[in-house]
Symmetry: C2
Subunit: 207 residues, 2 copies
Amino acid sequence: MQSVPLQQFLDDLASAAPTPGGGGAAAIMGAMGAALVSMVANLTIGKKGYEGVEAEMKAQLAVSEALRARLTAMVADDVAAFNQLMGAYRLPKDTDDQKTLRSAAIQEGLKQATRVPLACVKLCVEAIQVAQRSAEHGNLNVISDTGAGVLALQAAMRSAALNVYINTPSIKDPFFVASVSQELEALLAGNLPLTEAVYAKVRSRMG
Amino acid sequence: MQSVPLQQFLDDLASAAPTPGGGGAAAIMGAMGAALVSMVANLTIGKKGYEGVEAEMKAQLAVSEALRARLTAMVADDVAAFNQLMGAYRLPKDTDDQKTLRSAAIQEGLKQATRVPLACVKLCVEAIQVAQRSAEHGNLNVISDTGAGVLALQAAMRSAALNVYINTPSIKDPFFVASVSQELEALLAGNLPLTEAVYAKVRSRMG
């Protein structure tokens, strides 16, 4: 997926093909957000007036680059989860045994299609926390890039959450659903306001 | 730009190179949002139960695809505006005449670096209005993709706005600044709440 030209990725996203869709778009928006946080670190390290935050920026850069790699790779995880679920729906359902097996495979497919976007939300949360420090200490000349980064991460986190919401109503394991829902809502409650606080910090530092 | 592999685009975004930056990321997020709206139209047209909205979806698809093309092309406009401004800063400033010329070129460069993101905001607003109808009438099976689309457009619109905000304080033409600021704030005031209304509509249709 990462080797396709940008134009082709956008064409595939727009097409009637089911993947890439919102889940893959969430992962790429997250990767773009992490990339912008990395850019700001790269443009702060070695710059006059920012000697005091150089060590911090180098540490941040290592984290944001690792998160970017994981978010980019998640596009493939999203496709794999979708294909697993579609494969389960296509299983034979002629006998009772087949019906039982198919139903179990669909349920496992739905769980996997929920775990992947939940993992995406978690990576976005980690990147948002790096963006927070970037907004406080990063190079003022590129502070708007930190702002664009945190907005991309916010959209990625909320889009990934939608991909959890669309699958959980079909999952019959109430413990799995409760666990995923509680974890997701706690992550959103803790970090959606943080994205707005980082955005407000960016605006205040723009003068 | 559109022919670069997706991975290369992300690497370039993360690098110390000043472009692509937040402005280019805004344009690509907008293009991703328009692409997701197109995807939902493509997966609604011809589907059983959606015969009544088929003509509307075909019309929407034409609009979202045209917006996607314009948003994708805007990455190059953002790079061109940045290069124009940097070129102006590099002009000679040894004589008074040179200083006057350089200052005028910088002011024109700053204006262009403001016009491009304002145009990006306007394209996002058009796409958000298409997403609104998609959320109301699009295929319920892919309603989360409409949601991801409107969140991408919201992030794109706000990121482009940041690229206006970072340039206007340096522009000395008060009429230009007032005109741009009034237009931008009116667009945001009218359409940021709309993005949240579309998101809420998506959530309500997910059941």
